[in-house]
């Protein structure tokens, strides 16, 4: 399977959107494009599975290399492993749901869909890149769409949020850039190629400088404490689909980068700094959870809880065991689906009630049974109910963390576990107040979800259930990828 298709489809879709005449055509063009992406992602998964079953043990499959700026040793080098495929699947789910929930965007529809598709283009490119230069290129390509999506279609203090997000993410990329240049010149080969860099042993002195740069740089994207402050503002000001993309896909770019770039090619650095990562991510988990307790706005609730949930991703990476890293990738997928669904539901509720304040709502289950049910499902997933994806992912991280037997790791694990209780408190309170109790005045005439909203919710719920009920397929998908990372770490020990 040619991975360039993953780039071509969004590109063609974006062009098609630009050429369409009226809003209906634009929507359908985007929807068809997103469906093809979804089909492609499944096709990729199937092709990957059959290749693995046929006994292909290469670290990265479907490799393709095209020359690009040969003078700098830069090439368009693509390839995927299980981790990348998991992320691609996640992206395609979120994209199609995002397109569906944006069906009613009336303001500058063409531009909206164009930017949305461009964002997915960047994400796919990021996940399939095996050359750090183009990986960086795709990481940055999403800056413009994110900025404009929040700034134009957002709500609240959107200009402030858009600026803050763009600048903080740009700051993260600047650190990544310096780290990459250090790797380029500090390694022996003057290369950006991930495979070559992982094959050589980068000098320890270089790793000690470049690992923190890369990890913190990517960490900004995935709300590494204390660089998480863009998350609440950015997510809550963005339009519904924008929040879904930001939390569902964009934050995962950071986690994937921390794992694939920083940890994979710099195992010495990872070992050296692992404890700091664990401390910071434990703080993020607890701080995010407690901060959520204080929030009244549904979007802020989900945004802060994203800080907490993404803390698990980094915690899993910091634990440096195979199970923990597998769990961390599962958490990325699970949180991506869950948070996208959460933002979608919040968007649906907000569109009808025109408020996101929890205390102004009540009894919505009576008038909007479908939306409220989805809210329950996503809430339960967030607090880690068995049978849904959140439980599986967080449990795997905890089990992996527990494999480290010393007191420090134990304490961090236990502290992180405690956040689940806090999560239960704020989720149950928010969901309960919104959906249950007496119906507030003025809400009696509200309508339930339309077909597009139902379809979007169902697609995401299918994903959540597929992981929650049958986690083994995802586990099998991720494990080989986690294995090669761990092998490098163990080689250091």
């Amino acid at each position: 399977m040619n991975l360039l298709l993953l780039l071509l489809v969004p590109l063609v879709t974006a062009l098609a959107v630009l050429l369409m005449q009226n809003k209906q055509q634009i929507r359908w063009a985007a929807f068809i494009g997103a469906s093809i992406q979804l089909a492609l992602a499944f096709g990729l998964y199937a092709a990957y599975r059959s290749a693995r079953l046929a006994g292909d043990t290469a670290a990265f499959l479907f490799e393709k290399k095209y020359n690009w700026f040969p003078d700098w040793n830069i090439s368009l080098h693509f390839g995927v492993d299980g981790i990348a495929i998991a992320m691609i699947l996640l992206t395609s789910f979120v994209v199609i749901a995002g397109v569906l929930v944006s069906w009613n965007v009336e303001k500058m529809t063409k531009e909206f869909y164009f930017l949305l598709i461009l964002l997915s283009f960047g994400a796919y490119g990021f996940f399939i890149s095996l050359d750090l230069f183009i990986l960086f290129f795709f990481l940055e390509i999403a800056v413009i769409p994110k900025y404009l999506l929040i700034g134009i279609w957002g709500s609240g203090k959107k200009e402030y949020a858009a600026n803050k997000l763009a600048l903080m993410l740009m700051g993260g990329s600047a650190l990544v850039l310096v780290g990459l240049l250090g790797t380029y010149f500090g390694g022996t080969g003057k290369t950006f190629d991930l495979l070559q860099l992982s094959a050589i042993h980068i000098p320890v002195a270089t790793q000690m400088i470049c690992f923190p740069l890369l990890f913190v740089g990517f960490g900004v994207f995935t709300a590494l404490f204390p660089f998480h402050t863009w998350v609440p503002d950015g997510h809550s000001s963005a339009p519904t689909a924008g929040s879904m993309f930001l939390a569902g896909i964009s934050m995962k770019l950071g986690g994937y980068g921390c794992l694939r770039v920083a940890t994979y090619i710099m195992p010495d650095g990872a070992k050296e700094y692992a404890n700091i990562i664990i401390v910071l991510s434990s703080i993020a988990i607890l701080y995010g959870a407690f901060a959520t307790m204080m929030q009244k706005d549904l979007k802020y609730i989900n945004a802060y809880s994203s800080v907490s949930h993404c803390g698990f991703v980094l915690l899993g990476i910091g634990m440096l065991t195979k199970t923990a890293i597998t769990g961390s990738v599962m958490q990325m997928v699970s949180h991506g689906l869950m948070t996208a669904l959460f933002f979608a539901v919040i968007g649906m509720i907000y569109e009808r009630t025109h408020t996101r304040q929890v205390n102004e709502m009540g009894g919505l289950l009576k008038v909007m049974p479908f939306i409220s049910t989805v809210l329950f499902i996503v809430g339960l997933c967030s607090l880690g109910l068995p049978g849904l994806s959140g439980f599986v992912a967080e449990m795997t991280v905890f089990v992996g963390s527990w494999e480290n037997a010393d007191a420090f790791h134990r304490i961090a694990t236990i502290a992180a576990c405690m956040s689940i209780v806090v999560t239960a408190v704020y989720i149950l309170r928010a969901v309960g107040q919104t959906a249950m109790g007496p119906l507030k005045a003025g809400y009696a005439n509200l309508t339930d979800a339309r077909w597009n909203e139902k379809l979007a919710a169902i697609i995401l719920i299918v994903g959540i259930l597929a992981i929650g009920i049958a986690p083994f397929w995802l586990n099998d998908l991720i494990k080989p990828g986690a294995e090669i990372i761990i092998q490098k770490i163990q080689a250091v020990r």
Binding site: W68, W72, I141, V143, F185
Partner: protein
């Protein structure tokens, strides 16, 4: 004889065009529209001709040198001038002295060509003067505006001052080494104190022309006062030419004193980026804004120059300037179109522009994103290659400062984008009628901004020019 003609072909072409324009001026029967068409055609022919018959040669006892790389640098300048003739068509059609304008501008360009090709400091100084004095006259071209005369005055005074410094530096150098030939100088340089003094004087003169901090104070005022066509000529063509010469002078002539000038370049680069960025933050006038942003861009060019690597530094600087030509000219083109349509030059006036002028808004947006270095625009590649070249010196603190400066610059570029796309305005600038030539120019710039980066063979081509030497 015929050999001399082919060696000097780009200068001769330009001189020919200047003469044609002079004769047309004598006849004086043509309307501005026709005249502008003829000029554009001549410049286009000149630009295309620049790509043929380029080889390594020298004339007049190495006083004049040429090589494929130098020819390509000239082509970039040619392209810039051609784009200027397209982009500001509106203003050209209205101006009374169109022929004079282009005669002056092409004379300055001729000076830059000779400057690029100069092989010793005498030639260097003469051509630098030729490249400067006509521009001062150009700055005064808005004859009715007082601010335009002020700009010309500031320009001429500051360039006279910097020429004085340059001459002083050259004479010290001559006094110490006994030669002014670029070829003979490197062997005679040993880094003695007096030679460092000469280097500092020469460096300051370059810093004036490139508006490197602390020699940047004239820039904003001159940019603001001059007509758009002149401002863009100053900020793009003139800067590009001087940057090309600067890098070749440092790499070729002052190669033995690399350690000395590396530190100078580094410190001034950091200062230039920071000061340029900080001042750009508060500007309201779009010309002043672009002036300070272009100061910051020069800081980035210095990062590339600091690499002291002919195989990486030179191509990355040339590549960046090619991109800079497209990006900055596009930004100036849009600003000029809006100014000539509505007379507004303030960034706040751009609020809500997207509602009425989507085409101009998108061109402005990609131009600014390219200047900020955001992909997929070419500016991303340009800046990244400059930083990569600079990082080869393994001075990561310097590279980190440069990378962090990209964030600051993003902030103020986003300010304009925000005005255009997001801010509400009940009374936005009405729909501007865009001259077809301007539209063509903007389209070329837009395509250039997107393609120069993504199409990697443009960079390969620049590198290949180097290897043929």
């Amino acid at each position: 004889m015929s050999e001399i003609i082919t060696i000097l072909k780009s200068e001769l072409m330009l001189t020919g065009i200047i003469f044609i324009l002079l004769f047309i001026k004598l006849g004086n029967g043509l309307k501005n529209e026709t005249l502008l068409g003829i000029i554009q055609l001549l410049l286009l022919v000149n630009f295309i001709a620049g790509f043929f018959m380029n080889f390594e040669a020298s004339a007049f006892d190495t006083m004049y040198q040429t090589s494929p790389m130098i020819a390509f640098q000239k082509s970039i300048l040619n392209l810039g001038v051609y784009l200027i003739s397209l982009l500001f068509a509106d203003w050209f059609k209205k101006t009374e002295h169109l022929t004079e304008f282009f005669i002056l501008m092409l004379s300055a360009l001729l000076g830059m060509f000779l400057l690029l090709s100069s092989g010793n400091f005498l030639m260097f100084y003469l051509s630098l003067e030729l490249a400067t004095i006509p521009v001062a006259a150009l700055a005064n071209f808005d004859l009715q505006k007082k601010i335009s005369s002020e700009a010309a005055m500031k320009m001429i005074l500051s360039s006279a001052f910097s020429s004085g410094i340059l001459l002083f530096g050259i004479s010290i150098l001559y006094g110490v080494t006994g030669t002014i030939s670029f070829a003979e100088l490197p062997a005679l340089l040993n880094g003695s104190t007096i030679q460092i003094l000469a280097l500092i004087f020469l460096f300051s003169a370059f810093a004036f022309k490139l508006s490197i901090v602390p020699f940047h104070l004239w820039t904003a005022d001159v940019y603001e006062g001059s007509p758009f066509a002149v401002t863009s000529f100053l900020s793009v063509i003139s800067k590009g030419a001087i940057a090309f010469v600067f890098i070749s002078t440092l790499y070729k002539v002052f190669a033995p004193m690399h350690i000395v000038w590396y530190n100078m370049v580094m410190v001034l680069s950091i200062l230039t980026m920071i000061i340029g960025n900080l001042f750009a933050l508060r500007q309201q006038n779009i010309k002043r804004f672009l002036a300070f942003s272009s100061i910051a861009q020069v800081g980035f060019i210095l990062v590339g120059i600091s690499s002291n690597s002919p195989t990486q530094g030179v191509p990355s600087v040339v590549y960046f300037i090619l991109i800079y030509v497209f990006s900055n000219l596009a930004a100036f083109g849009v600003a000029a179109t809006i100014a000539s349509h509505s007379g507004k030059e303030r960034i706040d006036d751009y609020k809500g522009l997207y509602q009425t002028n989507p085409f101009l808004s998108w061109i402005l947006a990609i131009a600014l994103f390219s200047l900020a270095g955001i992909p997929p625009t070419a500016g991303f590649f340009g800046k990244l290659f400059l930083l990569t070249a600079g990082a080869s010196q393994a001075n990561y603190a310097f590279i980190t400062i440069a990378a962090l400066n990209m964030i600051v610059s993003l902030y103020y570029y986003l300010r304009v984008i925000r005005s255009v796309f997001m801010d509400k305005n009940d009374n936005p600038i009405s729909k501007a009628t865009i001259d077809p030539f301007t539209k063509l120019g903007l389209l070329i710039c837009g395509i250039g901004i997107v393609c120069t980066g993504l199409v990697s063979w443009i960079y390969d081509y620049i590198v290949s020019l180097l290897q043929s030497v």
